[in-house]
């Protein structure tokens, strides 16, 4: 094999990383819809999709083909540009945030070290928040462009919901950031390696942030459900929410559940791949939790949803920030 220059190697590895991550993400998103239908069906004592392929496994493909051949109905008097732009925006933004998610440690090719991550931005967490904050446009524009009062009010309500819960979500992670002292997702995960040691007593509990930030985690998880428009806060409904679900689950894993850290054993190659397995397993648990919740909880009314966000989650998040900053200051003094 000819040796590549550093730039060529970097480009090649990055391309491969992007291709692999996109492939995995697209497949996950497609099969998430299958998993959701299956799990919800079993919760309700039904079989769910069963006809296309074994256990309905080919159902996502069949759905895709069906959508391709469906007639595109464009209502009269819509604003064409914005009408097409809104769903495009919603998907593009949903896929964009995966670029900064780290899903494993490092690997080495030709003496150069690469991260299991498309790109390591040193403000990775804020990047994700920036992308989600733009996601509001896709909903408000979709509601407006259809030129109908009902969809317009739907769009306004949903975007008000997203903006409200974004605030709580931002506050929820501040505690974690104060403990980690960095905005880099990789740095936050690196701070969670090992086990909690109190004095000289080893608790053998993994050093995950969930044990010191349970309130932050609760606020984050609740706000994230609202942010991705899932039940019980699911006024708007869209296919891009599956991709957003993946992002939010990845973030929950990285911020509160130690990212890719888990027991390592076996030969070298297994030690390199195991972190990715642990990461995927944790993300899968969150995704399952989402679906489980959908099968269990009833839906909130709009005014309940808003007052819950502003009068309960937001103050709780603020209190968490206050308490954490006192403890951090006390410990560092």
């Amino acid at each position: 094999m000819a040796t590549l220059s550093d730039t060529e190697l970097f480009l090649l590895v990055t391309m491969i990383k992007i291709a692999v991550v996109m492939f995995v993400l697209m497949t996950t998103v497609a099969y998430l819809s299958w998993l959701e239908r299956k799990v919800v069906a079993h919760i309700q004592s039904r079989w769910g999709p069963y006809l296309v392929g074994p256990h309905g496994l080919l159902q996502p493909l069949a759905d895709g083909v069906k959508f391709l051949f469906k007639e595109d109905i464009v209502p009269l008097e819509v604003d064409r540009v914005v009408y097409w732009l809104a769903p495009f925006l919603s998907f593009a933004l949903a896929f964009l945030s995966i670029a900064v998610i780290p899903f494993g440690g490092t690997f080495t090719i030709q003496g150069r070290t690469f991260n299991f991550q498309i790109t390591d931005v040193n403000v990775g967490l804020l990047f994700i928040f920036a992308v989600t904050s733009l996601g509001v446009y896709s909903i408000v524009l979709a509601g407006w462009s259809a030129n109908s009062k009902y969809s317009f009010f739907g769009g306004l309500r949903s975007s008000a919901q997203m903006i409200s819960y974004e605030t709580a979500m931002g506050l929820a992670v501040v505690g974690t950031l104060m403990i980690a002292g960095t905005l880099s997702l990789r740095g936050i995960v690196d701070g969670q390696s090992g086990t909690w040691v109190i004095g000289t007593f080893n608790t053998y509990l993994p050093r995950w942030n969930i044990f010191v930030q349970p309130v932050g985690f609760f606020v984050y998880l609740t706000a994230a459900v609202a942010e991705t428009n899932r039940i019980p806060f699911d006024l708007p409904e869209g296919e891009a929410e599956y991709s957003n679900m993946v992002t939010v689950s990845c973030l929950a894993t990285l911020l509160f559940f130690g990212g890719w850290h888990g027991p390592l054993f076996g030969p070298g190659w297994l030690r390199m791949l195991l972190p990715i397995f642990w990461f995927c397993l944790k993300v899968f648990c969150f995704l399952f939790f989402y679906i489980w919740m959908r099968g269990t909880l009833p839906r909130f009314r709009y005014d309940q949803l808003m007052s819950f966000g502003w009068k309960f989650l937001l103050p709780l998040g603020l209190l968490n920030v206050l308490a954490t900053s006192f403890v951090v200051a006390w410990l560092s003094a």
Partner: protein
């Protein structure tokens, strides 16, 4: 890197022109969002990731959402061009040209070689936090109180009389 800058700069200037020339308010707002995002990319090229991301979160993600909300709630349709005032033509256009020339002159004088030296400063969150909460803590807090007062005022004004 340079080619990326020229693309971003050119598109952002075009989008900025579209903000002014566009007759449909929603398109104007969308163009402005595009300008803000492209400015963020230029900050990224300068190596200021934190500022770039904050630019998107604060301007594109928060302030412009309110703009778009208001435009949609007011149901602003296409603007009808007004009777062009004579004052605008005879006073406005020369003033704009004079202003542009002045800016060009200032830039030219400041950087005769055509390139500005890269500023050597830390634009990370920690450095900005230190500046805001140590050196400029009073103006920062006063601005926050001012915004709080404005919000309270808006709530009082919007509240219906019993």
């Amino acid at each position: 890197m340079e080619i990326l800058f020229y693309i971003c700069a050119a598109v952002s200037v075009l989008a900025a022109l579209n903000v002014v020339l566009q007759r449909t308010p929603v398109y104007s707002a969308l163009s402005l969002i595009l300008v803000l995002c492209l400015l963020a990319v230029i900050y990224l090229l300068l190596g200021a990731e934190f500022i770039a991301v904050i630019q998107v979160i604060v301007y594109a993600g928060a302030i412009m959402v309110l703009f778009v909300f208001v435009i949609m709630l007011l149901n602003a349709g296409r603007e009808v061009p007004s009777e062009r005032s004579r004052l605008a033509r005879w006073l406005g256009v020369p003033l704009v040209i004079a202003f542009l020339l002045e800016v060009l002159w200032a830039v030219w004088n400041q950087f005769p070689s055509g390139t500005a030296p890269a500023a050597d400063f830390d634009a990370g969150p920690a450095a900005i936090g230190h500046l805001l909460f140590r050196n400029y803590v009073l103006p920062f807090e006063v601005t926050s109180v001012l915004i709080l007062v404005a919000i309270l005022g808006a709530v009082v004004l919007a509240k219906k009389e019993e």
